[in-house]
Amino acid sequence: MKTLAAQELATVRRIIEECKGRPGPLIELLHAIQAELGFIPPEAVPVVAEGLNLSRAEVHGVVTFYHFFRRARPGRSTVSLCQAEACQSMGAAALSEHARQRLGVGFHETTADGRYTLEPVYCLGNCACSPAAMIDGELYGRLTPERFDALLAEDATSS
């Protein structure tokens, strides 16, 4: 099995040390790893298991249970489009189809240039301003296909 690069391993070990004295630390620890590395590398699972005195199965089980944790490196930006009922009532399906066409990927996929990962999300709590999306932690409301394209264009010029 592949092992972690030295730097990633050091990051994971440090996070384990920071979290392991706390009650029920596994999910907090996984959040911390994902915040720093962008995802939970599968090779980190045995390291975390050993550090917290859990089985690999327990750690793997938690990583795979929660939609938020990803096991592959995401694109530089993550675009999450709400698919829940309130957004559906305001055209979320058409917006999602537009985004898939525009980015050329489906949900849970990353564009070939490694720039965007497209994700579905089930409610962002912005249901009076549907349809909603979150791009890298920023919330957007009343999105239209035109506005979506404008956001991508702004993103392209800013980076």
């Binding site: 999910i27 939609h67 938020f68 999300v121 709590g125």
Partner: protein, 514 residues
């Protein structure tokens, strides 16, 4: 003289450009040499007017302008908006707007009015009066006040809060916990988010009062990962509350300890179910626990635990400060107090309406909401999130209280109402209900795990024209099995939207031409 100007930092307002408006206001004021003090408040909840800018006049009255975009900023200064000048976006005194005038804001009394990062502003607006009152009462008296108020769990289950607290208070244990369920996953709901972003100290105070009442010393706010703005607001408020000694070893000089922290969920709808949330708080997969034992007896780490929703806990300070009977005087039937209703989806004036129980759906949808956003007739509303029934237009005279809705086979849940116009395809919505359940099932029980996937397949066969009548009967039987046989509310209630769609909109379940 420097004028107080309010521009919300609420996530919904930010999603419509409030940050850019705030920055532009600052820059324009600097350019013109005008003194201006910007407060980043929560949202008033009138989302069709966001970004809603307010100016505090010399008379103390706040006047609103909205919805404001960056390109309106220079003209606002030209119109001397700081002195209440006329402008096309001027709305007059905020609280005189018809939308606000009829509301009865108790739990949300401070949301949008105060600086959510400031303990001093919270106290100035009546905050911590409830805790002060509670510190003068015996634990049993606090529980009795909550019982008398008639407060029922606002997360959706509507269980009497006082009874839950009494059970926890009667347990002998070395450690008890207060766990706040802030995993607001229902589509159409955003009251928890608004409160946490706009008045986080109300939640902190409510949890502190709960801790005093039951003898708990540790609290957790289980917050969904989809709410980064609420997380920042809570972290800021928690630090401020510790700094001011409203949390920690000596709460408000009482000698009582209460520690509180935020724990993040990780995108699992099921963790809004209380036992699944406890599993997740302990760092495990969010699989539901078999009840009994109840969390009030064996909850977090096997210890007695109060599990309440954000709105339930944030209503407690008002009840303690103003009296249990004052709260109970609002409402209808066995639904006492007020309900923060969230108007969402295809609605012209969406947002938060807090009113005593007993408002009719029609009043809400047309008087407050102004009809659909698309201008087309409203065909149905889904109440109470993805597990709630679809209510057809013919039943819009139903009153919004727990019992009246139960009477038509619906439920209030967390008070979210999602509006659909007449273009909605109800077979598709029914299919989505099953699909969502399949996606979010924790997998512990078979009716939910397998039933939801079979549900999607059966609906697909109906729409493909395969043996329509037989498959419709099969779908009904499947719904029945899930309702009767599931371990928790996810599998047990996911059929409700399906059953209501079948009952009221059966014509949508015809074979579709491919």
């Amino acid at each position: 003289m420097s004028r107080l100007v309010y521009v919300p930092r609420d996530a919904g307002a930010l999603s419509l450009g409030a940050e850019a408006v705030a920055q532009s206001l600052r820059a324009e004021a600097r350019r013109r040499g005008v003194a201006l003090e910007l407060v980043r408040n929560g949202s008033r909840g009138a989302y069709w007017l966001e970004p809603l800018l307010e100016v505090a006049g010399e008379d103390g009255v706040r006047r609103a302008y909205g919805p404001v975009s960056v390109r309106d900023v220079p003209s606002l200064f030209q119109a001397d908006f700081l002195a209440g000048g006329a402008h096309p976006l001027a709305l007059g005194p905020t609280e005189e707007l018809p939308w606000f005038r009829g509301q009865q804001r108790l739990t949300f009394e401070r949301v949008g009015r105060i600086d959510p990062a400031s303990v001093a502003d919270y106290v100035r607006h009546g905050g911590y009066a409830g805790l002060t009152r509670a510190l003068g009462l015996a634990p049993g008296e606090i529980v009795a006040a909550v019982t008398t108020s008639g407060l029922r769990g606002r997360g959706g289950a509507a269980f009497p809060t006082g009874i839950k607290w009494k059970t926890v208070s009667e347990q002998a244990a070395r450690q008890k916990y207060i766990a706040c369920n802030a995993d607001e996953g229902d589509s159409g709901t955003f009251a928890d988010r608004m409160l946490m972003e706009g008045d986080p100290f109300a939640l902190i105070e409510g949890m502190t009062i709960a801790a005093l009442a039951v003898g708990a010393t540790q609290g957790y706010i289980y917050l969904r990962a989809e709410y980064p703005h609420a997380r920042r607001a809570l972290e800021t408020a928690l630090a401020a509350a510790y700094q001011a000694h409203y949390l920690g070893a000596d709460v408000a000089g009482s000698g009582r300890r209460f520690d509180l922290e935020v724990r993040l969920g990780a995108g699992a709808y099921i963790c809004g179910e209380e036992t699944s949330m406890l599993e997740s708080l302990e760092g495990r997969r969010g699989e539901v626990r078999v009840r009994p034992p109840l969390p009030a007896i064996k909850g977090l780490y096997g210890q007695p635990t109060v599990v309440n929703n954000v709105i339930t806990l944030a209503s407690v300070p008002w009840i303690l400060a103003h009296g249990a009977q004052a709260y109970a005087d609002y409402g209808s039937g066995r639904s006492r107090g007020t309900l923060p209703i969230q108007l969402a989806g295809n609605i012209r004036r969406g947002g938060l309406v807090e009113r005593a129980f007993g408002l009719s759906l029609r009043e809400l949808l047309y008087d407050y909401g102004g009809g659909s956003a698309s201008g087309r007739p409203i065909r149905t509303v889904q109440i109470g999130g993805p597990l709630g029934a679809y209510v057809p237009a013919g039943q819009f005279d139903t009153l919004l209280d727990y019992e009246a809705l139960a009477g038509i086979g619906a439920m209030l849940g967390h008070g979210g109402i999602v509006v659909f116009d007449d273009t909605v395809d109800m077979a598709r919505m029914a299919r989505y209900a099953m699909e969502f359940c399949a996606l979010e099932s924790c997998g512990k029980c078979t009716p939910c795990r397998i039933g939801s996937t079979r549900g999607v397949e059966v609906i697909d066969r109906i729409l493909a024209g395969e043996d329509g009548e037989r498959n419709l009967k099969l779908l009904e039987a499947l719904c029945d099995t899930m309702v009767q046989g599931s371990l928790c509310g996810l599998g047990g209630m996911a059929p409700f939207p399906v059953q209501s769609a079948l009952k009221h909109f059966r014509e949508d379940f015809r074979a579709q031409v491919r």
